[in-house]
Symmetry: none
Subunit: 410 residues, 2 copies
């Protein structure tokens, strides 16, 4: 049997609930999506509990599940994925954090959690001033991410990730990290000292002198959160015996894929992961990547952003643009492709956060069973023959359609 | 509540994918099946992952799953089922194999893996010459199967099934069986000596002298494969508190059912398990068997054969004949019957091997919920109220509809 290649298109946060401004339709039910509907009408559809019914996934746990891992077993917090996403390579025993540059006053009260969405080159300069920082024998390695984001790795003996955040997730006094177990007290202490050390080194840094003069919020402290040890996963390409890569604009998604052993493929700067992301360029990148990889996971972040912003009409607009992208893929995809369109979770505009609603999915390949589903939406895909499946089934089902599975028995 | 009887009709390898020569329909979508559709329209339908989504079942693991066993726990290789299927009763510690009579030249190179599809009475005579064969204290018990097939049981102390096949599954030199662990070296050695012993006893056997004279390939060696220890299963009739039998033409299916404790019911010779099998006679046998058994599993092998042959049009023809059989059952079944039509796996004509695609299923009994499914096919059954279930759920659902389950709680 000839094997096929596999492309999974994850439209982040795409699922929704009925939106008042759309006459209680979801954005997918409301928008005209002729290309996504073509894939649905010519393939097999279903709905997916990315983790399990009623479980609200994060984008990180969701992608782990889609890649076939059990997030309950392998998820160790978001920090390590953020760190991996911006290229910080960690070692066994490291504890990783995601961080924000923030603005504090001289009583160490947070006045802006994102330091006015400070970005590079300011963040690069600031991070440089933290090079070589060592606290109680623990190396503190910081790297800047997109905008006000950064990642921190602590490296040294006796560390534990079982600590609370130094980021209070709100304005007001900074939080004091605490160990949740006696073994973790040491690490919590290092984190608290790290936070003060960043304030000391950054508050009068030339970058902040400039920002003060320009009336901008100073980026004068770094607040770590989401402590996690680095998970050691059996690499996806080994588990599934195929070369694999990811095409994504968002750091954390790149990080998850990197941790799972996928090649992180460069995307053009226009594929930002924002609502203005150039989906066509991303699709072109994904199709090109299939020339050197047997499996590609592609993530489009924009619908999730609209959901978090609670803006149903802009989500409809994003859906239309994603549909145009699906049309581009339809016109340019290779013959031997198994392609999935789905989401990592729902982000209903009405709640502005992730929900556990099952997400629509369609899977197309030449010769797949054509079922009775004709419309790509939360309700339309439920007519398909796939029924209601789990996120971790997606890759296995693709593998079977791609003639890549071993027979169990005779 | 009055209990009912249960008949599960397993149409082997019935599921398929879109076939080019059928306008990308599946054989079930393409063929007119008024009787299977009657059962679907008047019963409850769904689709079944016989083992799990994306897992490609063998016929052996699939039937274990349909009978409610977990193949991951009880499957020990195909040998024991083949042996049981031709009536070889094994004991604890035995290792069983499936075998082929083959033709080798005097350099022990295989020139025909099936010895010209030699059959009884030749195979019976040849097997008789191996009676009493003992190697290093291990009894070697051989019995002929259908055509060129046979089974071997090794009986003695210190045996292990953890060995490679002596059958290279190809023409050319015979393979040397090897132990995969130190404990298994002894068994591998016995197998290799067994193979040479069969050559010695068979090469100038009068049957082969006759075959040589007639220009037929000699059946001058026996090649064992699929070593397995005999699984000890809790008998199906005890687990489910009902008498149970199987109606099948194929040895391996009979063997699986025998190992699970079902009575293997004699079928007329016309129920061969091939594409020319007389489905009507088999259905008659199954309905008669329901007079003495509360549960019957019936297997029709033909659609699987068409799938392996890659012949969509002959699969359509087999589907039509199976539908006529369903009509016969409809007209002759008892009032108190719960009947299921399903498959053990898909065998898409386009790939010529088993796939993990979920299979259609309909379950009819007077008074079952009539749902919205009206067409018996991979897509049509997905409209039914059963949704997507697992193979091991089938018997439990039947038991409940047959008023045979215990209430859990009060």
């Amino acid at each position: 049997m000839r094997t096929k290649r596999i492309l999974i298109v994850v439209m982040d946060g795409l699922g929704d609930r009925g939106c008042e401004e759309l006459g209680w339709k979801t954005p997918l039910q409301y928008a005209d999506t002729p290309n996504l509907d073509w894939f649905t009408a010519n393939g097999s559809a279903g709905v997916v509990d990315i983790i399990a019914p009623g479980v609200r996934p994060g984008s990180d746990t969701a992608h782990l599940s889609i890649l076939g891992y059990d997030p309950y077993k392998v998820y160790t917090g978001r920090g390590p994925f953020e760190a991996a996403g911006i290229g910080l390579i960690s070692k066994k025993g490291d504890v990783a954090f995601r961080c924000n540059f923030a603005t504090v006053n001289d009583r160490l009260e947070i006045t802006d959690r994102r330091a006015g969405r400070v970005k590079t080159p300011d963040t690069s300069e600031l991070v440089r001033s933290l090079e070589g920082l060592k606290i109680e024998g623990v190396e503190c390695i910081v790297r800047e991410g997109t905008e006000h984001r950064a990642a921190l790795i602590l490296r040294g003996p006796g560390l534990s990730a079982d600590i609370t955040d130094a980021d209070p997730h709100d304005l007001g006094p900074i939080a004091i990290s605490k160990g949740r177990s006696p073994e973790a007290q040491f690490t919590a202490g290092v984190v608290n000292k790290f936070v003060l050390a960043t304030y000391k080194r950054l508050k009068d840094h030339p970058v902040n002198v400039r920002r003060r003069a320009a009336g901008l919020p100073e980026a004068n402290i770094i607040l770590p959160r989401g402590a996690g040890e680095f998970p050691r996963l059996e690499p996806f390409p080994e588990i599934n015996s195929m070369t694999a890569g990811c095409v994504a604009g968002v750091g954390m998604i790149k990080g998850i894929c990197a941790v799972c052993g996928l090649d992180v493929i460069d995307v053009p700067p226009c594929c930002s992961g924002g609502t203005d992301s150039d989906f066509m360029s991303k699709a072109r990148t994904a199709l090109e990547a299939l020339e050197t990889h047997e499996f590609i996971l592609m993530n489009c972040k924009a619908p999730d952003v609209c959901g978090h912003d609670g803006c149903a009409l802009s989500k409809v607009d994003v859906v239309r643009r994603l549909d145009e992208m699906a049309g581009y893929i339809k016109d340019n995809m290779p013959e031997d492709l198994v392609i999935v369109f789905t989401a990592d979770h729902s982000t209903p505009c009405g709640t502005g956060d992730h929900s556990a609603d099952p997400v629509p999915m369609t899977i197309y390949t030449k010769g797949n069973v054509i079922d009775e589903a004709v419309k790509f939406s939360e309700s339309g895909c439920a007519r398909g023959r796939l029924g209601r499946i789990r996120g971790h089934d997606i890759v296995r089902i693709c593998m079977d359609l791609a003639n890549r599975t071993e027979k169990f028995g005779a």
